[in-house]
């Protein structure tokens, strides 16, 4: 057989150009057929003599001879390889080749044994492919933008996969795809991602879902691919977020501020959903970034509360229940990112109080829904006072009904509506002096005795700075209006029923309203266009001690009902902000102490660093405690004999029962 094969080999060698492979193929087919026949003929020997004498079976022998004499013949071996590689290359450059022939030849190599396939073909195939793609990727990256490049890379990848199915061993797929991934993607990852005007950041900015999706799919194939995307996305997001929260322009309008944050969140949620197949690691990166920059601005808690306030006052008017839920859920997401949740609580309470007392909430259900969400997030303690506020409102309604039911004679006079607020639940306000007009004070006294009649042992104090009044007014030319004013404003206006002209000092004396509030109150009634029910001499913007006030007989307004009250929640002024911050800090001290005592009581003995980290962990749901403050509290507890230092190890604390 060997000599026969040598003959064949010569004839194959002789084949020119194109026909080389065909000749090889033809001879191979002939050989196979012959081999089969020989095997059949020698089957008996195959089954008996050969196994017992450990000789190679016929078929196998035939294959080996083919391999040694033809495939490994010096003239054929390299020519075969080069021809095959040449064809692959041509196909890659767009030519159509005879795939059937390729398949047969490759199959021949596979049949000769996987060693042959790998050594004589696959190994070189992979090397050449690597070279090819190295060159190609370099060419592309010079001339294409990121999106185009990725498209090309994807196309090549798919081509190779297809190639394998058509005429290569299936096991080669993973190897060739690795080559493509490495050459086209892994080697150029940084450059692609950071490409100017078309890189990852640009794609994010322009919401290019398709390109982003493609990048995600390609990069996930290479080591650290997704990590790279995630890192760039995170740093971009953090940078953008940081600019957002520190931009002084933005800070002027809290509602806008929060809306922008929500928009940014929506944008990235979309991207992660549509392009990054909801990958959890990306979601986490998003969360971390938001947590980072939202807390860069110490006013974020206040602003989020103001946003909610705006929505609950008017923003949610006419919005369907489901949409309300959606908006509130989104707000809750931002809330979760806050480090100083206790600051939020303080502001929320203030704003809620104003909403409830002025009756300005657009939907009771929405209010309650939000409270429930806060409770789920932070526990009962967080919301118990807020719920107390709602209860007070309801109870007050019942109380008013009872009051008027038992005093039918009051039906004629001014209508009094009282909200009785439980001191612990509502934000603390210092109550200030204010002389109510006699009609009102008599009425208030009646209420007081009624209430204390049914609730002995309680104390009532009028919060004149939080009330409002509706008054019917007739002006000089007969124009009638209904004015909605604050209690202070009401007191001032009522004075003019008995006097044409009053100067500042007289007003101050009569009402006993504290000067800063009184000035604000007069300003709102004398200096604001459209609300100037009073006239002031001189006409300046500021209130001077010598100013004189008159009823503005020329007052006019398009509306019958004119609102002059000033009870809307606003962004705090600098001094107010300091005050609130101070109160929050004061409130934190007992919380830290309670946590310290709790921990030490259960652990008995604990060292300094662990104690600090335990306390921080326990409190982090509400706020991030300052380690220095914790230290001060520890010392205070040592002073008060709750704790002591260990005699031997001064870093160890012991609980004193």
């Amino acid at each position: 057989m060997t000599s026969h094969l040598k003959e064949i080999s010569k004839s194959i060698e002789a084949a020119q150009g194109e026909s080389f492979l065909e000749e090889l193929n033809r001879k191979w087919n002939d050989h196979n057929k012959a081999l089969q026949m020989i095997r059949d003929i020698l089957m008996y020997m195959d089954r008996t003599y050969i196994p017992s004498n450990h000789k190679t079976p016929v078929h196998e022998l035939g294959l080996n001879l083919w391999r040694d004499n033809i495939i490994h013949s010096s003239k054929i071996q390299s020519r075969l390889l080069n021809t095959l590689l040449e064809l692959v290359h041509r196909e890659r450059t767009g030519e159509v080749i005879d795939r059937g022939l390729m398949r047969n030849i490759i199959k021949m190599l596979m049949d000769l044994g996987s060693a042959v396939y790998q050594e004589d073909f696959e190994k070189h195939f992979l090397e050449v492919s690597a070279e090819f793609y190295k060159v190609e990727s370099q060419k592309f990256i010079e001339c294409c933008d990121c999106g185009e490049y990725l498209k090309k890379a994807e196309k090549r990848l798919n081509e190779e996969i297809e190639r394998v199915t058509h005429y290569l061993d299936a096991k080669s797929e993973i190897k060739i795809t690795s080559v493509v991934e490495k050459e086209m993607i892994a080697n150029h990852m940084p450059r692609l991602v950071h490409m100017e005007n078309s890189g990852l950041v640009n794609m994010l900015l322009d919401d290019k879902y398709e390109d982003l999706g493609r990048m995600y799919n390609l990069f996930r194939r290479v080591p650290n691919g997704l990590l790279t995307i995630r890192e760039v996305m995170t740093s971009h997001l953090r940078e953008t977020g940081k600019q957002l929260v520190t931009d002084p322009e933005r800070l002027k309008d809290p509602v806008e501020f929060v809306q922008r944050l929500l928009d940014e969140k929506d944008k990235y949620d979309s991207i992660i959903n549509k392009a990054f197949s909801n990958d959890k690691t990306f979601q986490n990166a998003l969360t971390n970034s938001f947590e980072y920059f939202i807390n860069l601005n110490a006013r974020s808690p206040e602003f989020i509360s103001l946003f909610v306030d705006d929505k609950l006052r008017k923003g949610l008017k006419g919005v369907s229940e489901e949409d309300v839920e959606i908006i509130l859920d989104k707000v809750m997401m931002l809330f979760r990112y806050l480090q100083e949740k206790d600051v939020f609580e303080k502001y929320y309470k203030q704003h809620l109080a104003k909403r409830l007392l002025s009756g300005k909430t657009v939907s009771d259900d929405a209010e309650r829904s939000l409270i429930v969400k806060l409770k789920t997030e932070c526990g009962y303690q967080f919301t118990s006072k807020l719920e107390g506020m709602f209860t007070d409102m309801k109870t007050s309604q019942d109380t008013m009904q009872g009051f008027y039911a038992s005093h039918p004679e009051l039906g004629e006079g001014p209508t009094l509506v009282v909200q009785v607020l439980t001191t612990g639940s509502w934000p603390t306000q210092p109550s200030s002096t204010c002389n109510l007009p006699s009609e009102m004070s008599a009425l208030c006294e009646k209420f007081r005795s009624y209430y204390l009649g049914t609730h002995t042992g309680r104390r009532l104090s009028w919060q004149t700075n939080m009330g409002n009044a509706d008054m019917k007014a007739t002006f000089g030319k007969g124009q009638k209006h209904e004015l909605n004013v604050s209690t202070y404003q009401m007191c001032v206006l009522m004075l003019f029923n008995n006097a044409e002209r009053l100067n500042y000092k007289e007003i101050e004396q009569a009402t006993e309203i504290p000067a800063p509030e009184l000035k604000r109150c007069l300003q709102s009634m004398a200096c604001v266009k459209g609300k100037n029910v009073l006239r002031k001499e001189p006409m300046s913007k500021d209130i001077g001690e010598e100013d004189a006030f008159f009823v503005n007989d020329k007052f006019s307004s398009k509306f019958y009902k004119v609102k002059i009250g000033t009870v809307v929640a606003q962004k705090e002024s600098e001094p107010e902000k300091q005050e609130t911050r101070q109160r929050v800090e004061e409130d934190r001290k007992p919380q830290i102490e309670a946590a310290l005592v709790r921990i030490m009581k259960s652990r008995r003995v604990l060292d300094h660093n662990n104690l600090i980290s335990e306390v921080t962990k326990q409190l982090q749901q509400r706020f991030l405690p300052n380690p220095t403050e914790i230290k001060k509290r520890i010392e205070s507890l040592i002073e008060r004999d709750f704790l002591e230092r260990d005699n031997v190890d001064r870093k160890l604390y012991r609980y004193l029962a």
Partner: protein
Amino acid sequence: MAITGARQKAAVQALKASDWHLEGAFDVFYSQPQSKTHTDSRHLEELYNRYKDPYLDMIMADGIARLCNDLQVDPQDIVMLVVSWHMKAATMCEFSKQEFVGGLQSLGIDSLEKFQERIPFMRSELKDEQKFREIYTFSFGWAKEKGQKSLALDTAIGMWQLLFAEKHWPLVDHWCQFLQARHNKAISRDTWSQLLEFTRTVDSGLANYDAEGAWPYLIDEFVDYLNENGVGADGFSRTIGA
């Protein structure tokens, strides 16, 4: 016996304990609890009456001043602190009869001469690390007002300057300046005791100061103050600006 004023039995014991070496015997003798020494309680009574206040059954500031005068010791001398410690005196500037008599008894003193003789010994006690610690800790309770939990700042500063002059701490002046400039409040017991640890553990260049070392807040602030004012490498450096 002539030198220590001890009785024969105690002298023999001491000599035995030190293998009959005379100097070793002195060491042994002096390190023994002093109650073994005999004192005449009548003499002590007389001594007490000499200095006690005419109206109260206590020796008050006046009496103490006279005592110091007779001993030829400055009333501000730190040795008086050591004396008070031995007496377990409750408050500065007064001794109860029990404190006075008990304390002197434990020191083996029943006359002014013996008192004067013991003074060098008492001074030497300050050099002993353990005793110094005890005296330091004692001073807090002793120096503060009766019924107060904390020690007034001025008194504390005075005490610190007294104590750390004896056992030199390079930063004592900076510490006192710092307190006057920044703290202006009373000193808690914890701060007092932790300060001694601080002088013992942290070198004056602050090189081994551990910010996580559970030092009281005031001491952390002190370190910041030092850093702000450029006290770093050698502790003795530039004077702090007013």
